[in-house]
C-alpha cells in the first residue's frame, strides 16, 4: 500500500477531506441531485417585528400555475425546541420578529414559488415591540410569550412566566457586600454587544421528502443531524425510526447550523406534497435574519481587587437579547451564568444571567456560546483594575487566573489546565512590554492582552458512539455521527482509529455523509466537544475491534492475548515474535489446525462515550458538585495601529496560545488558531443593524462586512500547551470555539494602550473610533 503513516496521533497528517475539496468534488447539500420530481419552496416572512395575525389568504398564490401547495401555521400547530419548546414552525396567532416564517409556498420552480409567495395575503395587527434586552426584562415591557409558563422546559432552565425572561441563572458565592470595602480598586462598567451573524459561505439548505408510506427523509447542511431528527420527530409526531436525516459536508457552521432553524419548515412543506422532494434554500438575505444570529448582550459588571492585585469581588448582570425564540439561547445565558467570572479565581461573586425575549432574529449558538460576549467586558475591566493599582496587565492575569484544583465559582474543582503557560507564551510572542514604533506619524501603536475560558455548554449527558468495521484488505471504515464542518473532525476520527487499532492512517476511511439511518448516534457537532467525546467513542470502538482480533490470533497461536499487539497493520507477539497480517483474517477469520473448522469472523468494533458525572446546580446559588465536563483555557495578545486621521484600526499581529490537553493533529489546531483569530478580529467590527421598527438594514455581504484577504494581520502566531485532560483521548480537549473568544477585548485593550480610549460597546467601527478621538481633542 505504498508509504504510510503509523501511530498518527500527535502528528500533522493531511486532512482526509482535502483532496476532494480542492478538486471541487466534495458534495454539499445543495449539490445533491433529485431529478425532475423536485419541487422548490419559498417562505413568506413577517414584515412586522411584533403583530397578531388576523387572517391569511392563500387563494391568489394557489392560483398561480405551477404552485403545488401553500402551508401556514394552521397546518402545524406544534412547537419545536431543544431546551425550551417555544417556537412554532410556522407562526400561529402572532409574529415576533421581522422575517418570521408565516407561510411556505411549494411550486415546480423556485421562480414560481417566489412569485406566488408575494401573493399570499396576510392581515396583521401591529403590536408594540421591544428590542433592548434590559427594557424587555422590565415588568411593563410588551410581552412576547404570554404562554411561557406552559412551554415544556429542561429541568435546569428557569423561565419567569409573565415576563420576557426565558432563563434566569443565579450564581452566589461568598459575600460580595462585605468584600467591597476591602477593595483598593473597583471598576464598574456597562458593556454592549450587538447581534452578529455567523456568515457561513454556504447558506442553509434543506430538501425534505415525505413518502406516502410515512417515511420522511431530510437532506440538510447540519451540525446536528441527530438533534434535528429528535426535535422534528418529537414536534411532528414522526417515529424517530421513520425520520432519516442525511447531512453531507457542511460549508461552514460556527453554531448557525446547530439545532433546527429552517429545516422543520421544509419537512412540513414536504408533507403537503407527499412523494415529491421539496428544496428550501436560504438567500443570503434570509441567511442573515431568517436563520439564527449571535445574541446581543448588555452587561453591567463591577469587579474589585486589593492593593496587591488580588481579585476580591465581582458582581455582574448579563442581559442576553435572545430574540423572538429562545429554544437554544436559554442555555447560552446559563453558560454565561456558571462561567460568569471568566477564567479568574474570585472569592466573592454575585452573578445574574438572563436570557430575554426581544422582537429580533432568533439568537442561538455561535462559536463561543456566550463566552465572547461576557469576556468583552470582563477582560477590559481586568486591564483597568491592573492600571489602577499600577500592575502590568499580564502580571495581573497571572496572579488571578484560574489554576488546576481551584474550587471555581460553582463549587467544582478545576480540572487540569495551565493558563499561566498560555499567558507566558503570548507575552513572549508579542514582545510584551516593548513599545513598538508606529509605521507612520499619523498612527499610534499599542498592544493588548486577553485571556479566556470556556466549557462545553450542553445537557449533562450528551453521548457519542462509533463503529469500526474492517474490510477484507484490512482497510477500515469508521462510522461516526459527528459532522465535518471544516474543523477536521473526520481527520481526527481517522487518526484516533488508526492509532488505537495499530494500523496505518491511510488504511482508515470515514463513512460519510452522516446519515441517521446508518451512522451511529452523536448528540451534536457543537461546543468543541467532538475531539473529546467522539474521540473517546472512536477510541473505544477501535479498542473493541482490536481486542476481538487479538483474541482470535491468540487462540490461533495458542498464546495469551496480553502478549500480543497490533503494529503497522500486523498482529505481533512480544513473546513468540510471530507476525500475522490483518488482511483477510479480519473478515474470514483463521483456520483451526489442519483446517478442522475456523475461528473468528468479520471484525466490527463498537464504542460509546457519555459523561456521567455532571450534576445539576442549585437554582438559587448555582452551586453544585460538577457544573461542566471541563474547561479549555487560552490567551491572546495583539499588536495594532490606530490611524488618528480615519479611526481605522489595523491589526498587525495576533499571538494565541491554548491548552488543548493533547494535540491530536497540531497543524489542524494551528488552522483553528489562525482562522479563529481572524474570525474574532472580524467579529469586533461586525453588527447587524435594524431600524426603529426592527427591520434589518444590512442583510447583505456588502453592508455587513466580514474580514477579507486584505484585512488579515501580517502575522498570526500560535502556541499549543498540552496539560492532559483526565478523560480526553490521549488527554485531548476541544479548541474550535476558544480561538476567537477573547480577540475583541484583546483588540480593545490594544486600542486603549495605543490611544488611551476605552470602548465599552461593539462594534469598533472606524467611525466610532474617529469620533472618540475627535471628542477627546475637543475636550
Amino acid at each position: 500500500m505504498g508509504s504510510f503513516i503509523s501511530e498518527p496521533v500527535g502528528k500533522s497528517v493531511p486532512r482526509v477531506d482535502i483532496r476532494e475539496k480542492v478538486a471541487g468534488t466534495a458534495v454539499f447539500a445543495d449539490d445533491l441531485q433529485f431529478g425532475p420530481g423536485l419541487y422548490y419552496g419559498r417562505l413568506v416572512r413577517s414584515p412586522y417585528a411584533h403583530a397578531l395575525i388576523k387572517s391569511i389568504d392563500t387563494g391568489k398564490a394557489l392560483a398561480v400555475p405551477g404552485v403545488k401547495a401553500v402551508v401556514t401555521g394552521k397546518d402545524v400547530s406544534t412547537r419545536i425546541g431543544l431546551y425550551l419548546i417555544d417556537r412554532p414552525i410556522f407562526a400561529g396567532d402572532r409574529v415576533r420578529y421581522v422575517g418570521e416564517p408565516v407561510a411556505g409556498v411549494i411550486a415546480s420552480t423556485e421562480e414560481i414559488a417566489e412569485e406566488a409567495a408575494q401573493l399570499v395575503e396576510v392581515e396583521y395587527e401591529e403590536l408594540p415591540a421591544v428590542f433592548d434586552p434590559v427594557e424587555a426584562a422590565q415588568p411593563d415591557a410588551p410581552l412576547l410569550h404570554p404562554d411561557l409558563g406552559e412551554y415544556e422546559v429542561a429541568n435546569f432552565i428557569f423561565p419567569e412566566p409573565g415576563t420576557n425572561i426565558s432563563e434566569h441563572f443565579k450564581l452566589r458565592k461568598g459575600d460580595v457586600e462585605s468584600a467591597w470595602p476591602k477593595c483598593a480598586a473597583i471598576v464598574e462598567g456597562t458593556f454592549r454587544l450587538p447581534q452578529i451573524q455567523h456568515v457561513p459561505i454556504e447558506p442553509h439548505v434543506a430538501v425534505a421528502l415525505w413518502e406516502p408510506s410515512g417515511q420522511v427523509t431530510l437532506w440538510t447542511s447540519s451540525q446536528s443531524p441527530f438533534a434535528q431528527r429528535d426535535l422534528i420527530a418529537q414536534s411532528l409526531g414522526i417515529p424517530h425510526g421513520n425520520l432519516r436525516v442525511v447531512s453531507p459536508y457542511v460549508g461552514g457552521g460556527f453554531g448557525g447550523k446547530a439545532g433546527v432553524s429552517m429545516e422543520a419548515c421544509a419537512v412540513v412543506m414536504a408533507q403537503a406534497v407527499k412523494g415529491h422532494p421539496v428544496k428550501l434554500r436560504m438567500t443570503r438575505e434570509e441567511e442573515f435574519v431568517g436563520t439564527t444570529v449571535r445574541q446581543s448582550l448588555v452587561a453591567h459588571t463591577k469587579i474589585g481587587c486589593d492593593a496587591e492585585g488580588n481579585l476580591l469581588a465581582m458582581e455582574t448582570e448579563y442581559y442576553f437579547g435572545g430574540g423572538a425564540y429562545n429554544d437554544y439561547g436559554v442555555n447560552i445565558a446559563r453558560a454565561a451564568g456558571y462561567s460568569c467570572t471568566g477564567p479568574y479565581d474570585i472569592p466573592n461573586v454575585k452573578g445574574d444571567s438572563y436570557c430575554v425575549y426581544t422582537n429580533q432574529p432568533i439568537g442561538s449558538a455561535m462559536r463561543g456560546f456566550g463566552m465572547p460576549e461576557i469576556h468583552w467586558g470582563i477582560e477590559q475591566i481586568m486591564d483597568q483594575l491592573a492600571e489602577k493599582i499600577g500592575m502590568d496587565p499580564a502580571e495581573f492575569r497571572r496572579r488571578n487566573c484560574v489554576r488546576t484544583g481551584d474550587t471555581i465559582l460553582t463549587g467544582m474543582k478545576m480540572p487540569a489546565i495551565d493558563l499561566v503557560a498560555c499567558i507566558d507564551k503570548v507575552t513572549e510572542a508579542i514582545d510584551w512590554g516593548k513599545r513598538e514604533e508606529p509605521s507612520a506619524p499619523h498612527k499610534k501603536r499599542g498592544k493588548g492582552i486577553a485571556i479566556m475560558w470556556k466549557a462545553p455548554a450542553m445537557p449533562p449527558n450528551p453521548g457519542s458512539s462509533a463503529i469500526v468495521r474492517f474490510n477484507e484488505d484490512a482497510t477500515v471504515n469508521v462510522e461516526i455521527g459527528a459532522q465535518e464542518l471544516g474543523q477536521g473532525a473526520f481527520t481526527v476520527a481517522a487518526q484516533i482509529a488508526a492509532q488505537a487499532l495499530g494500523v496505518p492512517y491511510e488504511w482508515v476511511r470515514v463513512s460519510a455523509p452522516v446519515d441517521t439511518k446508518y451512522s451511529p448516534y452523536e448528540w451534536q457537532t457543537v461546543a468543541s466537544r467532538i475531539t473529546w467525546s467522539m474521540g473517546n467513542a472512536v477510541r473505544a470502538a477501535a479498542e473493541d475491534a482490536k481486542r476481538q482480533i487479538l483474541e482470535i490470533v491468540a487462540d490461533y497461536w495458542d498464546e495469551d492475548p496480553e502478549d500480543l499487539d497490533i503494529k503497522d497493520g500486523k498482529v505481533i507477539s512480544y513473546k513468540s515474535e510471530r507476525e500475522q497480517p490483518l488482511q483477510k483474517m479480519v473478515v474470514y477469520g483463521l483456520p483451526n489446525e489442519g483446517f478442522e473448522g475456523w475461528k473468528g469472523g468479520p471484525i466490527v468494533g463498537q464504542g460509546r462515550f457519555m459523561p456521567t458525572y455532571v450534576t445539576n446546580l442549585d437554582p438559587e446559588t448555582g452551586q453544585g458538585t460538577r457544573a461542566v465536563v471541563h474547561y479549555t483555557v487560552g490567551a491572546q495578545a495583539v499588536d495594532l495601529e490606530v490611524d488618528m486621521e480615519t479611526g481605522q484600526v489595523e491589526i498587525l499581529k495576533i499571538a494565541s496560545a491554548y491548552d488543548v490537553g493533547k494535540a491530536i493533529n497540531p497543524d489542524l489546531i494551528m488552522t483553528q488558531i489562525e482562522g479563529g483569530a481572524v474570525h474574532g478580529m472580524s467579529s469586533a467590527f461586525e453588527a447587524l443593524k435594524f431600524d426603529e421598527k426592527g427591520r434589518p438594514l444590512n442583510p447583505s455581504l456588502v453592508d455587513y462586512r466580514i474580514a477579507t484577504s486584505v484585512d488579515v494581520p501580517r502575522e498570526i502566531h500560535g502556541d499549543i500547551v498540552e496539560t492532559p485532560l483526565e478523560d480526553g483521548p490521549w488527554g485531548a480537549r476541544g479548541v474550535g470555539e476558544h480561538v476567537m473568544v477573547q480577540t475583541a477585548p484583546a483588540i480593545a485593550n490594544g486600542i486603549n494602550n495605543a490611544v488611551g480610549i476605552r470602548f465599552n460597546d461593539l462594534p469598533l467601527s472606524a467611525e466610532k473610533v474617529f469620533l472618540a478621538l475627535r471628542g477627546r481633542e475637543e475636550e
Binding site: 475539496k21 480542492v22 445543495d30 461552514g252 488552522t671 489562525e674 482562522g675 483569530a677 455581504l701 488579515v712
Partner: protein, 157 residues
C-alpha cells in the same frame, strides 16, 4: 418563458443548451450541466464562491446570464483539475492545509489561477488583492495566500 439556444464551451467540451432568459451562468453550470463544484453562496456577486473563468477572466457566475455566455469559453474548478491528479495550485493548497469547510475553495482556486496566469510571480499584496472578492470564513486567508505563493514559486497554476 422565452428560451434561447446557446453554444458554450465548458472545460473544453462544447455544450448546446436551451436556457431561459433569466437563467444565470451559475444555475446553468449547476443545474443544467451538474457541475456542482461551482458554489452558490449569495447570488448577488458578493461572496465569490461561484467564480469561474469566462474567456480567461474570473467572473462571478451568478452575475452573468447564461445567454451572455453564448460563444464563450468557461472553466470551472472541475476544469482546473487534471485527470487522476491535482494541479500544482491545488497541491499547494493541500500542502498548506489551506482548506477547512471547502465551500469557498473552488472560487478561490479560480481567482488564484487567473492571477497566476496574468502575473506568474505575484507578491503578497497582489495575491491579497486578487482574492479580495472571495470570502472565506474559516481559514483566515493566510494559508491560502501562502499556497498561492508556493504555487507561483513552483512554476504556476
Amino acid at each position: 418563458m422565452a428560451t434561447h439556444s446557446i453554444t458554450v464551451t465548458v472545460n473544453g467540451v462544447r455544450e448546446y443548451l436551451n436556457v431561459p432568459s433569466h437563467m444565470t451562468l451559475l444555475r446553468m453550470l449547476r443545474e443544467e450541466l451538474a457541475l456542482t463544484g461551482t458554489k452558490n453562496g449569495c447570488e448577488a456577486g458578493e461572496c465569490g464562491a461561484c467564480t469561474v473563468l469566462m474567456n480567461g477572466e474570473p467572473v462571478n457566475s451568478c452575475m452573468v446570464l447564461a445567454v451572455e455566455a453564448d460563444g464563450a469559453e468557461i472553466v470551472t474548478v472541475e476544469g482546473l483539475t487534471p485527470e487522476d491528479r491535482l494541479s500544482p495550485l491545488q497541491e499547494a493548497f493541500v500542502e498548506h492545509n489551506a482548506v477547512q469547510c471547502g465551500f469557498c475553495t473552488p472560487g478561490v482556486l479560480i481567482s488564484a489561477h487567473a492571477l497566476l496566469e496574468r502575473n506568474p510571480r505575484p507578491d503578497e499584496q497582489a495575491i491579497k488583492e486578487a482574492l479580495v472578492g472571495n470570502l472565506c470564513r474559516c481559514t483566515g486567508y493566510l494559508r491560502i495566500i501562502k499556497a498561492v505563493q508556493t504555487a507561483a514559486e513552483k512554476g504556476g497554476a
